[in-house]
Subunit: 203 residues, 2 copies
């Protein structure tokens, strides 16, 4: 019933799904690949607000409130999305209160992620931000072999709110903590040693 | 019906309403005063996530999803709040789908505010952050007389993600743009001149 009229949409890497301030008419579930959510400031500088991967959904709040998109969305790898028509979902909501409550959950999760992101931007050094990013990355993978970086380094820097050159310098500094990064992969010798960086006052 | 069992709660300046990770059991509407929402990082550093004033509500998402509080809340002035029992609101939601949809709206507004805040943290210089804060402040007041600062300077700095000493330096620099700040009030000679700061590449 929820998936009535849902359709699968493919995107090439770099393809824009929607732009901020455009009317929103759909919610999306990522089936495959990575989607970048970002704002473009009046100065032209881009602020990455989130990176969504398979299993994650976005657009609930904008589409259900009938508000324009607060962010732009762009595929940062080849991607496949499930697109749910917002009007159809709003009609369903009228007859199914449980669905409405369940729709609050992803909006709440997004709130929590944004709050955590603000905390990191305001309280963590760049070394701590990079260490946390790498720890999240390996937590999602099993085993201790090399892990592929999910997207390019300029975007990783943007996501962490640091300059690309600061990211390169930080990767170099983390070599002393058993972290090897090449163009596309990262190898972490010892997770415990990297986790220690998070509590040390490294600046 | 929604306000059944609602009660008014008074807080002294500095009084804590709830702490992050505690169970959430209510939604709040600010009737009077200011409430600070903040996270305390593992390092002990506090990150201000929002400052809520009269007419604004918070806690919808946490209380309706039955999740622990993602933030702590503390009164930063004497305050009065309307406290709605979350269980009562959840029961109402079962029978009133329109209420559920209307509850998504504040959660969405909060999302938009957080996204805008991340944009500012990632793209604006400290001078631009302070100028924007002052412009928001006078937009809420009529007339061009002195405007009271809503809370103390340490908290303003925290809200803007800059150090207190940077805030003092920025206030001093803004004198050249017709802005006079003393202990508790700000006087802006010319809004247009201040607005120009937002587009200039002041660093």
């Amino acid at each position: 019933m929820l998936l009535k009229d849902a359709r699968v949409q493919g995107l090439r890497a770099g393809q824009v799904l929607f732009l901020q301030d455009e009317p929103s008419d759909a919610l999306f579930v990522v089936l495959e690949g990575w989607i970048k959510l970002y704002r473009t400031a009046a100065s032209g500088i881009e602020a990455v607000v989130g990176t969504m991967r398979d299993g994650q959904s976005f657009g609930e709040a904008a589409a259900l409130c009938g508000q324009p998109w607060p962010v732009s969305a762009e595929a940062i790898s080849p991607a496949r999305l499930l697109r749910l028509d917002a009007r159809h979902v709003r009609r369903l909501l009228q007859s199914d209160p449980a669905l409405a409550t369940s729709m609050l959950a992803p909006a709440f999760q997004r709130l929590q992620q944004l709050i955590a992101h603000i905390e990191v931007l305001k309280t963590c050094t760049s070394v701590q931000r990079v260490a946390e990013f790498l720890l999240d990355l390996i937590a999602e993978c099993d085993g201790d072999g090399p892990v592929a970086l999910p997207y390019n380094k300029a975007l990783i820097a943007g996501r962490l709110g640091i300059k690309p050159e600061t990211l390169s310098r930080t990767f170099a500094r983390l070599r002393d903590h058993g972290v090897q990064v090449d163009a596309t992969t990262v190898h972490i010798e010892d997770v415990v040693r990297l986790r220690d960086v998070m509590v040390e006052a490294v600046s």
